[in-house]
């Protein structure tokens, strides 16, 4: 049989398996086709609304996924603590906003300055945290069997989650808004909503132009910021000396060493950048979803790791694409299926990709190391 026929056949088998699982688990997980069709028919603009939510959340997922994929690309390690670094970004942002009094003001200038400061501090702290994790937990295991750094990564994840738990319980750092204890979800105020509220009406860009959909300032901010970060990262990796050194190290570490590249520095830089992106995502997600929780890195980690694998782990463009796709999947699952099952769908996607297309959508990267 020709290779093409084989791959088509395999595609059919995969599709059949997916459909079978979907219909088997479907009704439990809210996958009820007639009901979905009916609800789309009843309110078609809702579909576009979920699309908007999916893209905004997808942008955040993509930014986190970049950290997974860059680190994997360069040292072939899944940094399991990465989702938790993002969680620290959410808390750092909230704490900066709280300590600067930004949460208690209606002055737009103060709010914007506070947000800018929170962004900078969150990026810087998460960058440092991530690089420190590499230094402490991964560097000396670089030549160890692969399981060792993986276990070390999971340990780091636990440590940081507990750090988040302690942090969340400090009411002088994280305003409790009536919640008690570090384990509860904390409220992250919708500061952009506060600024852009006119006569008690939250500014809605689409409604302003007569489109009956919700597209607020925070959707705009998240998407714009994500695009800026992605373009910036892309240019950095393609054009700068350090960016090129990163690509070289990812493609052939020994050759990079021979050419005078200090790969320890390059790897540190990779963790700094990945952590910085997670820090930015932390502020974005806090503003967008309005919660801060010590365990939120787990879900974000699952979603963005899946996004990275879906796009092709190690592939930067792939992580961006995968991020948006997973954002849409999650949004449609939340909207039309059953929000309780969204994790399961994301996880199922991860398993299916790993089983049937481990190199992901765009990834020729894996297994191509000569």
């Amino acid at each position: 049989m020709s290779a093409k026929a084989k791959s088509i056949l395999r595609g059919i088998v995969v599709a059949a398996v997916v459909l079978y699982i979907a219909f088997l688990l479907g009704p439990i997980a809210g996958f009820d086709v007639p009901a979905i069709a009916a609800s789309i028919q009843a309110d078609p603009k809702q579909l576009i609304q979920f699309l908007i939510i999916g893209i905004s959340n997808g942008a955040i997922i993509a930014i986190i996924a970049l950290g997974y994929t860059m680190v994997y690309g360069i040292i072939e390690l899944i940094n399991f603590a990465h989702g938790d670094v993002y969680m620290i970004g959410v808390f750092t942002s909230l704490t900066v906003l709280s300590l600067t009094g930004t949460l208690n003001t209606n002055d737009p200038v103060k709010i914007i300055l506070g947000l800018a400061l929170a962004l900078v501090v969150s990026i810087a702290s998460c960058a440092m945290l991530n690089a420190t994790i590499e230094r402490l937990a991964y560097r000396r295991l670089r030549n160890a069997p692969r399981l060792a750094p993986l276990i070390s990564a999971i340990g780091m994840s636990f440590i940081i989650e507990n750090l988040g738990l302690i942090w969340a319980s400090q009411s002088w750092l994280v305003p409790s808004f009536g919640t008690t204890g570090g384990a509860s979800q904390k409220f992250f105020p919708d500061l952009l909503g506060t600024i852009f509220t006119v006569n008690g009406w939250k500014v809605n860009l689409f409604e302003y132009f007569g489109i009956p959909l919700r597209f607020t300032i925070k959707d705009l901010l998240v998407i714009v910021l994500a695009v800026i970060l992605m373009v910036g990262l892309y240019l950095f990796v393609q054009r700068t000396r350090l960016g090129k050194a990163m690509r070289a190290t990812a493609q052939n570490r020994d050759a990079a060493k021979m050419l005078g590249i200090d790969i320890d520095r390059v790897i540190s830089a990779t963790f700094l950048i990945g952590g910085g992106l997670a820090g930015a995502a932390g502020l974005m997600a806090g503003l967008y979803n309005n919660t801060a929780w010590w365990f939120m890195g787990f879900r974000a980690g699952l979603e963005s790791f899946t996004a990275a694998v879906l796009g092709g782990i190690g592939n930067i463009t792939g992580a961006m694409l995968g991020g948006f796709l997973i954002g849409l999947l999650a949004s449609f699952s939340d909207g039309y299926l059953n929000a309780r099952w969204t994790h399961a769908w994301v996880f199922a996607t991860l398993v299916l990709v790993l089983l049937f297309r481990p190199s992901g959508l765009l990834g020729e990267q894996v297994g191509q190391k000569a």
Binding site: A245, A248, D254, K257, L259, G260, D262, Q368, A370
Partner: protein, 235 residues
């Protein structure tokens, strides 16, 4: 210029280099010949710092290299076209060459060196925007050598540049090696193709299971009984 004194290198428990001593003088082509698995590549990797010697010393113009990390060794003027070429497959030819100049401090000489590389390997100029991974084996070898030259090294280490190439290409590559040497670069050449290597080298070393068993001028080695039998295939 380069001197190894009693260098021992291990892979775990495997004792790959058992006390290698050799010397390369300025302006020379010195060849290290030996059969597969003798330790030729390990010698070059040890000089470059990719593998750490457990004991012994490596001196570049009197300065000890054996404790320096590889990128520091590169900065001191050691460049290599490694076994298996190790070009960057998803970078363009131009980017590969740029990476070659990474260790250079004088960016002004870049254009000059680029021109020199393109003069030596006109094929690379034709392929300038192509991804390294899409080149043919011969072109990849040229790229690996060109990339090493972009560092304007004091000593160039070449690991089996003829491997897998057609006889015509082998001729061409060896001619280019001679040109590079005449233009002033000292060369340590590792080869299984002993006949070719000895015909362009000044001196040679024969390595067997991690030990130097013989050293002499290239012409005397060519005439040596043992070398003729074991490496030149002449009875």
């Amino acid at each position: 210029m380069l001197e190894l004194k009693d260098v021992h290198t291990y892979y775990g428990n495997i004792h790959a280099l058992k006390g290698i001593s050799l010397k390369v003088e300025k302006g020379e082509i010195v060849t290290l010949i030996g059969s597969n698995g003798a330790g030729k590549s390990t010698t070059l990797r040890t000089i470059q710092g990719i593998n750490r010697p457990r004991s012994g010393s490596i001196l570049l113009e009197g300065e000890a290299l054996e404790k320096l990390p590889p990128h520091e060794i590169a900065l001191r003027g050691v460049a290599q076209s490694p076994e298996g070429r190790m070009i960057f497959p998803r970078m363009t030819v131009m980017e590969n060459l740029e990476m070659g100049a990474y260790a250079r401090k004088d960016k002004s000489g870049f254009d000059e060196d680029l021109e020199r590389v393109f003069n030596l390997f006109p094929r690379l100029k034709e392929r300038i925007n192509q991804k390294g991974g899409t080149l043919s084996g011969g072109e990849q070898q040229m790229l690996a050598m060109g990339r090493a030259l972009m560092a304007r090294p004091r000593i160039l280490l070449l690991d089996e540049p003829s491997m897998g190439l057609s006889p015509i290409l082998v001729e061409l590559i060896f001619e280019i090696i001679q040109t590079i040497n005449k233009e002033g670069t000292t060369i340590l050449l590792v080869e299984q193709n002993a006949l070719m290597a000895l015909s362009i080298a000044n001196r040679g070393y024969v390595i067997q299971t991690g030990e130097i068993v013989l050293t002499d001028t290239a012409s005397k080695l060519k005439a040596n009984e043992m070398v003729r039998k074991s490496y030149l295939g002449i009875e």
